[in-house]
């Protein structure tokens, strides 16, 4: 039998003669790296836990609804696509608040940004690629639950074909509305992350911003106020007391301040729904304003933070 022999040659350093694909490759690399960072791909096991939990949390409500429908065979209590976005919006905001800092803060903290900005890309390229990465993941989260819900409803309907014929308009609606929601939950947390140096603080800031705005507007428009009182043992407790809600013209404008509902006004408009006062007084009040107002208000919350972020990074020193 012939003896197998092998030899290893060290060719030394080889010059690169292959293609150089320019700025689109550069932008795509930053975008792809953003996706990998957020999903923990190429990182240790612990980096993957949180993204997986949050993705499951975003899909879980739809999965639960579908399972219930398939078991009891009644879909009357199942939320429509418009309502579903309201249900999962809390998870989306939470996801954004937790994951957005992961996208920008390590690059500044570890000064990897210095290495990016000496390569053939601009600050704008970097930011657009990073924001796009976050937007794509937010979009996937927004749509995934909705798709699970719709498929489940179609499959459990008595006549799937009739169900599709009756509800086909919901598809372009949830696509458009989902994109607006995803963009909203992208831009604000990413902007906050652009100004913070610690991830926990950035997350707390975003959650705080949403909570304070929601509680503040909720208290003003619902007529529920919180009062602190002292118990007999000297402890302090919070009590919900009735107070005079803001009414009329002022209520409509104050309701705009509920940050979490900024994209939901557009969601209601896209699905052509009339908000119910008892379900969501904020949406109900804003619906009384001319349609252009919530649209401009949404645009302001996109353009404003995006501009702040851009100016912030223009000032980054290497």
């Amino acid at each position: 039998m012939a003896e197998l022999r092998g030899e290893v040659f060290d060719l030394g350093y080889q010059r690169y003669e292959g293609p150089r694909e320019g700025r689109w490759r550069t932008r795509y690399a930053i975008f792809e790296n953003g996706l990998r960072s957020m999903l923990g791909i190429g990182r240790g096991g612990r980096s993957k836990v949180l993204p997986i939990l949050l993705v499951l949390a975003a899909i879980a409500p739809a999965a639960v609804f579908v399972i219930i429908v398939s078991v009891i065979g009644d879909d009357d209590f199942i939320p429509g696509p418009s309502d579903y976005y309201q249900i999962v919006s809390l998870v989306l905001f939470l996801f954004s608040a937790i994951m957005a800092p992961e996208l920008l803060i390590p690059d500044r903290r570890d000064r990897v940004l210095d290495l990016y900005l000496v390569r053939p890309l601009t600050v704008t390229d970097y930011l657009v690629a990073r924001v796009a990465a976050f937007f794509v993941i937010a979009l996937a989260l927004v749509y995934s639950g909705q798709i699970v819900l719709q498929i489940g409803l179609i499959l459990t309907a008595a006549s799937p074909v009739d169900f599709i014929q009756e509800n086909w308009l919901d598809i372009p609606r949830f696509i458009l509305s989902g994109a607006l929601i995803a963009f909203f939950v992208t831009i604000i947390p990413v902007t906050v992350a652009g100004f913070m140096s610690r991830r926990a603080i950035a997350t707390a800031f975003v959650i705080g911003l949403w909570l304070i705005a929601t509680l503040f507007v909720g208290a003003l428009t619902s007529g529920e106020c919180y009062e602190e009182s002292t118990t007999a043992s000297g402890g302090r407790i919070q009590e919900t007391t009735a107070c005079e809600p803001i009414k009329g013209e002022a209520a409509k404008w104050v309701a705009l301040l509920d940050l979490g509902n900024v994209p939901m006004h557009l969601n209601e408009m896209i699905f052509g729904e009339e908000p119910d006062q008892s379900d969501n007084p904020t949406l109900y009040e804003v619906a009384k304003l001319p349609a252009i107002v919530p649209i401009l208000w949404y645009a302001l919350w996109i353009v404003g933070p995006a501009s702040l972020l851009w100016f912030r990074y223009r000032k980054v020193k290497i």
Partner: protein, 302 residues
């Protein structure tokens, strides 16, 4: 022939502070040392070449392109910063592959280049470990590797031996020499250490207070002197007294004998003195100036 980097009457001011004042110099193929103390304007010059800042006046060109007008000039430049700039939670392999793609290489080629470069800088075995667990020397190598991964024409190294122990410094300087001589990548080495320039550079540009005070071939500054250095294993005292007896001017320095104004006659006399004393010769060679001697002398003259 135009230089890879060109600075013409380059001035950069930050408010009332002048970082660079009418600096004119060129960086050609090979290794060029940009030498100067802290605050001399070295980092400002690097930022100008990278197009991160605009000059106040004068011009700067990278391979004929104005770097602050287009990022294209950076496609064939590499940059190794002085400070820490590495992510901690990814492996060197993953990081280098990413940086190659950020420089425009397609994913397949980026993967191959990352593996090749890590092997060349001596991180073949550790390339799948997270960078956060690397030693200072290993991190410096990753920083160099990311500057080389896209095969630049020229790489700007900012204090590459900063923070390294003597052994690490030697290894880094060897790598710098290999990068220039084996890889064929030109280098501008910014440093405040003359020894680093002497060890690696063909040319030196000296910056002080934002102005170019010296520039030229390193050999020009470190050429041979007329002083001979003699190192003997034994018989040193006998050779010393013989040389003095022959009327030669000899000094002792550490364990060496230093013979000044050595010509042919002196070489013959040294040979005879060593033979007569039966001494064992280890080294006989002319000494060279060092950059340190020159700048120390100039400052003393000044």
């Amino acid at each position: 022939m135009p230089g890879l980097l060109e600075a013409k009457n380059l001035t950069k001011r930050y408010g009332s502070t002048t970082a660079l004042e009418s600096a004119t110099f060129e960086v050609h193929e090979g290794v060029t040392g940009l030498l100067g103390p802290n605050g001399a304007g070295k980092s400002t010059a690097i930022k100008l070449f990278l197009g991160l800042i605009k000059p106040t006046s004068g011009s700067v060109a990278v391979m004929g392109l104005a770097p602050y007008e287009s990022v294209t000039a950076r496609t064939r430049l590499g940059y190794m910063p002085e400070h820490e700039t590495l992510p901690t939670n990814v492996s060197a392999s993953e990081f280098l592959m990413h940086m190659a793609q950020v420089s425009g290489l397609p994913p397949g080629q980026a993967r191959t280049r990352a593996a090749d470069i890590l092997r060349h800088v001596g991180l073949d075995e550790e390339r799948y470990r997270p960078i956060g667990g690397y030693s200072t020397g290993m991190r410096q190598r990753v920083k160099l590797a990311q500057a080389l991964v896209h095969d630049p024409v020229l790489v700007l190294l900012d204090e590459p031996t900063a923070g390294l122990d003597p052994e690490g410094r030697e290894e880094m300087l060897d790598l710098v020499n290999r990068t220039a001589k084996e890889f064929g990548i030109s280098i501008m080495l910014s440093t405040h250490l003359m020894g680093d320039v002497e060890r690696t550079a063909d040319r030196v540009i000296v910056l002080e207070g934002g102005q170019v005070t010296e520039q030229g071939a390193v050999d020009q500054y470190t050429q041979e002197t007329e002083t001979l250095i003699i190192e003997l294993e034994e018989g040193r005292e006998a050779v010393l007294s013989d040389l003095i007896r022959r009327g030669m001017k000899v000094e002792t320095k550490d364990n060496f004998l230093m013979v000044e104004n050595a010509g042919e006659a002196e070489y013959d006399a040294i040979r005879d003195a060593i033979a007569d004393a039966g001494a064992r010769l280890r080294r006989l060679s002319p000494t060279r100036h060092t950059l340190t001697d020159i700048f120390r002398g100039e400052r003393a003259d000044g």
